[in-house]
Point group: C2
Chain length 491, copies 2
């Protein structure tokens, strides 16, 4: 079945010939190769894996002139943004290399033996971490570099010593092919087995299902839609031997505008927020989709300023017709909702470029209707008007789980601000006190995750260096002989 086709995101025109998805046999062979390579790759030193990651970064940067224009044609995200994303992806690969070279991954806890009876008496216990084994990595559509073939999940899994089987995203299939080819060359040039980096492709759900069901797959990393992610999470849970499923499934990213900031900085913040809502045509996991504003005159003025700035924004073409269609449907559902007042009409019909949408709803209506609490992927946001701290907290509780919560104006230590900060940390993986949530720093402190649906594994992150913890499992070695303790790459 020829179900992969490179398409110009701006024109909808096909580029080159279509090609066939991976067959079941090809998927099984990719997993078998990864399984075959697992023991050898697990036994590589941190320095060897760091060198692999650095070479991958080099190769990516060397391919810039080919890859970035190709990514632009397939995604419509623009050359400037994609060039920056390529830099970030290389930075991330090198960042994991740094982490490996600093020895953090192979840190152990060594509890000496204690003579005597339990509970105080104990044998010597050494806590190490071992790679899980082959990881199925599902690329996302919206970051053709940073959350795709050589993105954060791949970098983290390789850093941990796990072979990766990439499921390419069909929205940028030719870019994926070329990035896969580049990665395979690097793996071969380093003398590593081909199974260290494998890939499969296919637009139908069966490709991913077969990959997740493969018995040798030890964990799944996924960034994408709620429905796709939940379906694969179920497949992972229903295996004879269930495996960890690390899924990032969406987020409405509430932003709370507190009274002090509105009069003084309202206009500038409205401008910043409008740009953030429309960045990348709103196709960011961290796009602010919920703006919580007090029901008062200053709040009215801020909302008006935001609406004015949004009207002036012109988002570019979306990634795929399917994503565009879902955006139009989501905007239409919000527009027709009895509780939603449309401030910026948005949408445009499939023939024109997308237009941003802004609606306004009262807190009570928002809390009462789960449909309003669900992400509309694209340049669409809801303003929720609140009349009290208690209502703000109730709105956050209704959201329940998000990648980010932004608090604008919580600058002083007041009981109200303490309650807000606490509520924000209960809901989100990242809490911002300034700026906008779009843009995620790659650093050790980063946390890109949060309570469901932001993550299916809320204690884990998919961005930042803690991301590699997902692919390591602690093992306690009891009374290990000296040769085991000293054997590099064994444990």
């Amino acid at each position: 079945m020829a179900d992969l086709q490179s398409i110009n995101a701006r024109t909808g025109q096909p580029l080159g010939a279509a090609w066939a998805a991976s067959t079941a046999e090809e998927i099984d062979a990719a997993v078998a190769a990864a399984a075959q390579a697992a023991a050898l790759f697990a036994a590589t030193s941190a320095a060897e894996r760091a060198a692999l990651l650095r070479d991958l970064a080099e190769a990516l940067l060397a391919g810039r002139d080919t890859l970035v224009p190709l990514a632009d044609r397939e995604s419509g995200l623009g050359l400037a943004r994609l060039g920056g994303e390529l830099d970030r992806t290389a930075f991330q690969l090198r960042g994991f290399a740094d982490v490996l070279e600093r020895g953090i991954v192979h840190a152990v806890i060594d509890d000496a033996a204690v003579a005597g009876m339990p509970p105080a008496g104990r044998p010597r216990m050494l806590r190490v971490r071992v790679p899980l084994g082959p990881v199925a990595m599902f690329s996302a559509s919206n970051f053709p570099f940073a959350f795709s073939v050589l993105g954060g999940d791949t970098a983290a899994a390789l850093a941990a010593g796990c072979p990766v089987v990439v499921k390419s995203h069909p929205a940028h299939p030719e870019l994926s092919r070329q990035t896969v080819a580049l990665a395979r060359q690097v793996v071969a040039a380093r003398g590593l087995p081909v199974g260290v980096f494998q890939s499969v492709e296919g637009a139908a759900v069966e490709t991913g299902v077969r990959l997740v069901q493969a018995p040798a797959i030890a964990a799944v990393a996924f960034t994408g839609s709620f429905h796709g992610g939940m379906a694969l999470a179920r497949v992972a849970a229903e295996r004879a031997r269930p495996i960890p499923f690390y899924g990032e499934l969406g987020s409405v990213n509430p932003l709370v505008v507190l009274p002090p900031v509105v009069p003084s900085q309202g206009a500038a913040l409205a401008e910043t927020l409008a740009a953030s809502i429309c960045q990348g045509a709103g196709q960011f996991c961290t796009s602010p989709g919920l703006v919580i504003v007090r029901q008062d005159a200053a709040g009215d003025a801020f909302v008006q300023a935001l609406a004015d700035r949004l009207v002036a924004q012109t988002p570019h073409a979306m990634l795929t017709p399917g994503i565009r269609h879902a955006f139009e449907q989501g905007v239409s559902a919000w527009s027709c909702h009895a509780g939603v007042q449309t401030l910026v009409p948005g949408g445009a019909g499939m023939d024109a470029l997308p237009r941003p949408f802004l609606g306004q709803v009262q807190a009570g209506d928002f809390i009462a209707d789960a449909r309003l609490q669900t992400e509309v992927f694209g340049a669409a946001a809801l303003v929720v008007r609140v009349d009290s701290l208690a209502q703000t907290l109730a709105v956050l509780r209704a959201v329940g789980g998000a990648l980010t919560v932004t608090l604008w104006g919580a600058d002083s230590d007041t009981p109200e601000h303490r309650d807000l900060v606490r509520a924000a940390t209960q809901v989100a993986g990242r809490v911002l006190f300034a700026g906008v949530p779009t843009g995620v720093a790659v650093t050790a402190a980063q946390q890109h995750g949060g309570p469901f649906p932001a993550s299916t594994a809320p204690a884990t992150t998919s961005v930042g260096y803690a991301a590699l913890d997902r692919f390591l499992r602690p093992v306690a070695l009891q009374e290990a002989p000296a040769w085991v303790v000293n054997c590099r790459g064994l444990v």
Copy 2:
């Protein structure tokens, strides 16, 4: 419905009157109280929580003369073992207090801002950890202290700053009631809200299901049967907002006897192993259920010695008639299996004390039949005969997930031993090079978990100080103002 009844485990006679399970309203009220207490408890200092844990340990030790005999009547596990278990439980509570006082729980990663454009440029990011919220804790039957009301899961959750709603185990209902009363007194005496420690009870599955479905419950800790655990894991996954489920569901704990040890130490090791198989009537999560032995004359001699030592063992009464019945059924199924040669007949019918069972099976038959790879809870073990390293590795792969793998005789650095160690770390959370897996040290290096079914969350542990990581979630604070960074107990 009066479905709770204290029963003498040795005689089957009821002790005192029966009483009713928690009603749905009582379960909801317990969760509501925990939810109400969550913010205040999360804001306590590490020192305050350490003091709570120390007071709980004191109270438990002060209650020894009442609690240990009661535990013995309800469980039949014996005064000596239960006295030691009480000590271990108090040791564990104090150990978590030590961890809190050393500040490890509140360690942060503080990434300074870097000027310039991303990816190198970044805002200041502070990575902290926040408590998840109310934890549903399911007591196990086989450790009336250490894995029950004030056991490791409760200690870890309280240390993390999460209120606990204990689901008592109906196999020791009166002990649970008295331990709950003691815990409530300690919580009240420390001036903490009653919601910090709540409990529910009931023998029917509905009690646990309602608890896991309660929207305010943020995580579940479970130690128990495969079927009970899987049912609750599904309930947790099917909530509108799925939550982490930390389940320990069973383990066959393979033990590999390598050729060098057999002639020299065979008799002593057979004695040690027989005692481990029968310890606590085999009712340990870490009971060795699979003994992998070479198919040669030395192996024959070891197996004969093991059989001789096992016949001489006299396990005590099992915890409940239900557990005893499952043991008899499991032994019977193994006895009747065409591939299993019975070496020690085991079982005894429900009227007598249980007798240990030992069967022998060829590696090929073991690998081919998943029924032989499943734990029989009690003093029952299978000897698997192997003719090569490759077969040993294949047997371990067939097991797939276990709390422990023990390697006897891997003392020297050989390619064969490297393969075995690597295979063992892929299968188990703890790898022993001497001794027997029964007995789990409470220490920072401990790892009590492993690939499914040993744990539903294989990167986590339910014993040792890393157990509290299950109940904390990282949060990145971006450009947090000074008052947030310095506010004790806020984040």
